[in-house]
Symmetry: C2
Subunit: 298 residues, 2 copies
């Protein structure tokens, strides 16, 4: 958790950013001002393989991008960098990029829409629109999900001849045998491996689409800008209370809830944590440099 503040930083909390390490690559969600320095303090290289997923185009979630890109340039980054975000992200990067030399690395920028956004190696990222004052994308990262193990005994028993048809079934596609019988992959594969799943909401009021996106996730990192005493502000500004975030976690049936995007008015977030725990027990309020080992299967 590189930055856990809401719109204003505090001496204790930097602006929003979450770095996830997956198989030697860094997946960064949001890039508030100061993110490059938080990465340095956390010992995360700016030169290695990396993707950035931006939830929305409010300054506190993107003003760290220009400096991050400039530093990568000064460091002669060689790996390409791929940035994903809502429509407008490309324009923002080009507008502030005018103070930069042309990047020495390949810079790809993709404007995202709902559904599967990226798939690579052992992970994929899906998105769903959250509910904020600006279009804001919540992201679901799944690592290590895979089909169940192929069971040759079952394939043989069903009369599938060893050879190319087995490969089709192993890929999770159905095959038609001579004689017209269709064999579905579920008939010959063991239990699928769920992988480990993390959902990061960005800014949002409690949202049914986030509940669906987070369904069964191992970890939900949900914004909780306010406590319940400011529920009206949360509703009108498109934010969540700690209790609202906890209700989303409960409905989605997640394993664990981390609250972030904590307003500067809560130097001590204990009350937020208690408010959420009364609804969803396995809750913690994030702090900068908190590290989490993502539990799960795969």
């Amino acid at each position: 958790m590189l930055g856990t503040a809401a719109g204003l930083p505090t001496p204790q909390r930097s602006l929003p950013a979450v770095a996830v390490e997956v198989d030697g690559e860094t997946i960064l969600f949001d890039c508030g001002e100061g993110t490059q320095r938080q990465m340095m303090v956390a010992g995360i290289s700016l030169c290695r393989k990396m993707k950035i997923f931006i939830t929305h185009l409010h300054g506190d979630h993107i003003f760290g991008l220009p400096g991050l890109l400039q530093t990568m340039n000064l460091m002669n980054r060689s790996h390409p960098l791929h940035i994903f975000g809502p429509p407008g992200i490309d324009d923002f990067i080009r507008k502030v990029g005018f103070t930069l030399a042309d990047p020495v690395f390949d810079l790809l920028v993709s404007e995202v829409c709902e559904g599967e956004i990226h798939r690579e190696g052992r992970y994929n990222v899906e998105g769903a629109w959250a509910e904020h004052s600006r279009p804001s994308m919540a992201y679901r990262l799944t690592v290590g999900a895979s089909l169940g193990r192929f069971r040759p005994d079952r394939a043989k028993a069903l009369g599938v001849p060893e050879g190319p048809l087995w490969s089709v079934l192993k890929r999770g596609e159905e095959v038609e045998l001579e004689g017209g019988r269709t064999v579905h992959p579920a008939e010959v594969l063991g239990e699928p491996i769920r992988g480990r799943t993390l959902v990061y909401t960005g800014d949002t009021r409690p949202s049914e689409s986030v509940v669906r996106l987070a369904s069964g996730a191992d970890l939900l990192i949900h914004e909780a800008t306010f406590g319940s005493e400011l529920a009206e502000n949360a509703e009108s500004e498109g934010h969540s209370t700690a209790g609202g975030a906890a209700r989303v976690a409960l409905k989605a049936g997640v394993g664990r809830l981390i609250l972030t995007h904590i307003s500067a008015r809560y130097p001590d977030p204990t009350a937020l944590e208690e408010e959420a725990r009364a609804i969803f027990g396995n809750t913690e309020v994030a702090h900068d440099f908190m590290t989490i080992q993502l539990q799960g299967q795969g």
Copy 2:
């Protein structure tokens, strides 16, 4: 000293920014990424009277502006904010401002040229072009300078009648007496009060125009990106070595030299300090949150 790094921040050094407190106002020189948070840590309010002087339009000196402006907006700043900088500063602020709501405070942006740039209350700011890869303005801040005290005895002895002519002389203007004799203010005023003077260079190679600007200053805050072993890099990139900065201090006859804009390759800056002290004794390398009481007269 809010940020003392060169182009790259480090865990110890934030990006360039210097805040000067003058009669309850904050004068900020440069605004690298992270400046708003450094101000919060240093206990400097973002809501009080403030001017910002930007030396040049490289990202490490300006990427803290968008977030600072957004935070001032969120805090409902009431004081106007006046930003000065080289041509292009207005364009930069408008380009990145697109993520902001209209500022709730008066935002003035002035593109500067050499000479006196601003005068207000007990201080004034002058500028001179430094020598960098982009137009970069060095600034001289003088506080509390004033004419010497009026000496009625001398005025009487010179035959200046008490009344309006005395006021003219007190303002530092000459008067002509009946009979054609001209009295110069120096004849009736005591020693002028020099005030306290600080010069901040921004990025520059050792420069004669900075020597002139810094002439007799109480404090020179000079960049020293490199040590003498990288003198060629300094020259080609428009930066100074510690020794180069010290020679400027010596030539200008300043009271004290602070080295800043220290490259990340010097986690221990002792060698830079020693290199400079061999030439100009009263030298220190800045560190983040270093505070300096500006000595001088006035």
